[in-house]
Amino acid sequence: MIGSIQTDPIEVEDPFRDRGHDIGAVVTFLGVVRDKESSKELKHLFYEADETLASEEMNKVLDEAIKKYSLIDAIAIHRIGIINPGEISLFVAVCSMHRKESFEACSFIVDSIKERLPIWKKDHFIDGSESWH
């Protein structure tokens, strides 16, 4: 289990390649920064976090999901700082014996991260205006 908050770009690859052979299903989610917000052209997003608490809460979410859905493993990475359109802000990956658990667990983790982690984003628009969410 890995839960991480980082400013480095998120590299996407098959995260459970070497985890043994009882894995039957892997579901991954990528949250990507869009180029518009409320139909205004976005220059980039800025994500601020209470990194310590966000990281602790993320690991709590993963732990809950692993127990609730009998997962074999789960990973989540939230990028913070400046993120440009097309870049990945959130990566979640889970694996389980069967597919149903993986789909449900991945969705649960993404929802929980968005609801529970002390992370905030600010739109920086092409026209120079800014707005916190």
Partner: protein, 89 residues
């Protein structure tokens, strides 16, 4: 609750603001001296000082770097983090 004094004694507390609350409060950190009170009462004090904080529910707070309960009483030297509604992902 032994050692609990009503009124009188002033507590020095450090308030940490995040995201848009930094703009509402005009600072990332604010040091205040207040009577002993619950965190939820302290939030009302903060709203009086910075009226824009009234605009929305401050649902999450942290006390000394841990998620806190709003009913907890503040102690001298405490750091209270005041979080806007989260918007990660």
């Amino acid at each position: 609750m032994q050692g609990y004094h009503i009124g009188g004694k002033q507590m020095k507390v450090h308030i940490k603001y995040y995201a848009k609350y930094v703009e509402y409060a005009g600072a990332k950190i604010e040091d205040l001296e207040v009577e002993r009170m619950s965190i939820s009462d302290l939030l009302e004090v903060l709203k009086d000082r910075h009226p824009r904080l009234k605009e929305e529910k401050m649902s999450i707070v942290a006390l000394n770097g841990r998620f806190g309960n709003e009913k907890t009483l503040i102690s001298d030297g405490d750091t209270i983090s005041v979080f806007p509604p989260v918007s990660g992902g």
